[in-house]
Amino acid sequence: MADAAVKAEGVYKDFILPHEKKDSIKRVFTHAFTKNNPGMEVQHALRNVSFEVQDGEFFGIVGRNGSGKSTLLKMLAGIYQPTKGNVHIRGKLVPFIELGVGFNAELTGRENVYLNGALLGFSKKEIDSRYDEIVEFAELERFMDQKLKNYSSGMQVRLAFSVAIMAEADILLVDEVLAVGDASFQRKCFDYFRLLKKQKKTVIFVTHDMSAVREYCDRAMLIEKSKVVDIGAPSRIATQYTKLFNEPTKGRRNEEKANRWGEKQMEYSKVSLSHDLMSKNEQKLEIKLEATATERVEDPILGFLVKNQSGQQLIGTNTLVKQRQPGVFEKGEKIQITWSVDNVFSDGTYYVDIAINDRDGVTVYDWWEEAARFEVVNEERVPYPFNPPVELEFTGGTGAAKK
């Protein structure tokens, strides 16, 4: 087939942002005679974006927050109109920009299935014939006649997802819906992805999860500052994306004041990590720190904490727990300290918080949130918080002989 399933040609999108809410009649009158409205600012959300997605391709779109990727997705979905340029879609497109669009808390689960289904283009008859399947997949048989407001958020997501995957689309737009839900739900999502790949559906997938890009996408596109930076092999794009984060972190230190506080009797002067990007080849992550005393301090407590992207605190300790007293520092004296942590990390982005307290742990000298960050990308993916080295041995079965 010569035609692409999705084709964007020189797409521009500008948003006109009023500086102040001014959509009122008074403002219309007061500004009716002023030619250049001072309250307006044009934001270029996308500039000259062109790409093609072929039939059956799994196409990733990656970029930082605010890079314009969600705007692009909404434009592909027809929600926004391009300011300039064209978007061509060949086939039936279903967007999963958010799960459970149109869900109403006052309606029962059953009624919401029909409403949500109608929004995805299903007639009542079509849902009737699939209703049992939807309910079974969502594992909500006993709850369908209860109002949605009595559902937990997990139940709502399960219901929404079960309706959504019934959509018989040629092209699917997926916007990080996988970021929600527990591990078993995420596994269902990934199963669904594999199914889509097997069925040769055209999928456009917007995500921050580089390991998902590497695993599922045939090609990917990196967007940065409203422009397409590169389109190509997923691993190349994922590496570029990861690099984007590491460059600005170095120059970022000054503006990070909001994440840093304390009375500064002693403060960190150097922070570095042994790896910005880790894979299973690395055995240890080393956090190398240097702190300087600005006045005399005795036995400060130095500690660190590793958090994942959702802010969950995973690993941390300090010199007090380790029963290592650093001793006395006169003004200007420095301490170099290295924390060495086994590489047990699962895929994702991690942040390191570092802190110095006084000997009683009461006064904060220096508390620095997200002083450093690193990415972990593993060949073996697991949807769990930790992925330490695991050995596998088995006997019996024809696979046992092979290694």
Binding site: S24, I79, K92, V101, G102, A118, G121, S123, K124
Partner: protein
């Protein structure tokens, strides 16, 4: 061609589901539920009846004035429901608009249809009263659906126009609220138009809603009702309010179509 058919099918599916939802949610949680769609206009009717018919002695010379009054209230309530509901229809569905591309007119149409269902229920009540009171049926009563269609079209046109306007101008709902309060008294609903001097009656009847209410009273309740043609003594004068309806219909379609692609980003 197949694409157009598909698009049309989607609108119908959506329209149906939104009307059902709207109706289900309308009296959600209230003890008497759907009964309120009858009780509300009846309650208002009782109050206005006591104040204007019993106390102020309006319409003593008009046969079946209470039914005449009830019909006027029911029609006006429909008009007010559709236009007031229409204003916030698009903005109120902002969550949907930002996440899904679908024909926006369906939202406004759905609100109008659910009010129409209500109107039919209420007209049913009016007919029950007419049976009880033994109002003479007249063959020209069969023309009533034409006038109801005119009312449907006018209310819908205004709902489309106002809903699109409200996306830009968030003051419109307040303006409309005050306007409707004034229009209620400028329309012969609670008072018989025969109370007014002829010159005032002539002006008021140019308002399409006044024309329709009087026409329906003429067709259904009593042929003694002054209509726009009898007041002017000219059949063709009816074309003025009808032109107003057509004008607003065209304006609304044009304005709504022009602006609807940008609703999602402007809300």
């Amino acid at each position: 061609m197949k694409n157009i058919a598909h698009r049309y099918r989607y609108s119908l599916i959506l329209l149906r589901e939104l009307v059902i939802t709207d109706f289900k949610l309308r009296y959600q949680g209230s003890f008497l539920g759907y009964l309120w769609s009858l009780l509300r206009p009846l309650g208002i009717f009782v109050i206005l009846y006591l104040v204007f018919v019993r106390f102020l002695k309006f319409g003593a010379d008009i046969p079946n004035f209470p039914i005449y009054l009830l019909l006027g209230i029911v029609l006006w309530n429909y008009f007010a429901d559709v236009t007031n509901g229409g204003i916030g229809a698009i903005v109120g569905r902002g969550d949907l608009l930002r996440k899904l591309n679908f024909p926006k007119y369906v939202i406004v149409l759905a609100g109008s249809f659910s009010a129409l269902i209500n109107l039919f229920i209420n007209l049913g009540v009016v007919f029950v009263f007419m049976l009880i009171k033994n109002v003479d049926f007249q063959w020209h009563g069969l023309l009533a659906p034409l006038v109801i269609f005119e009312l449907f079209l006018f209310a819908l046109a205004l709902a489309f126009f106002l809903s699109a306007l409200f996306v830009r101008l968030r003051d419109i709902n307040y303006v409309w609220e005050v306007f409707m309060q004034g229009a209620f008294y400028a329309t012969p609903i609670i008072y018989p138009i025969s109370m007014l001097p002829l010159s005032a009656a002539k002006i008021l009847l140019l308002n399409p809603v006044a024309q329709m209410i009087q026409d329906l009273r003429y067709l259904l309740v009593t042929p003694q009702t002054p209509t726009i043609s009898s007041v002017y003594g000219n059949e063709w004068i009816r074309l003025i309010p009808i032109s107003v309806v057509i004008f607003f219909t065209i304006l609304a379609v044009w304005y709504f179509r022009k602006n609807s692609p940008r609703f999602a980003e402007e809300i």
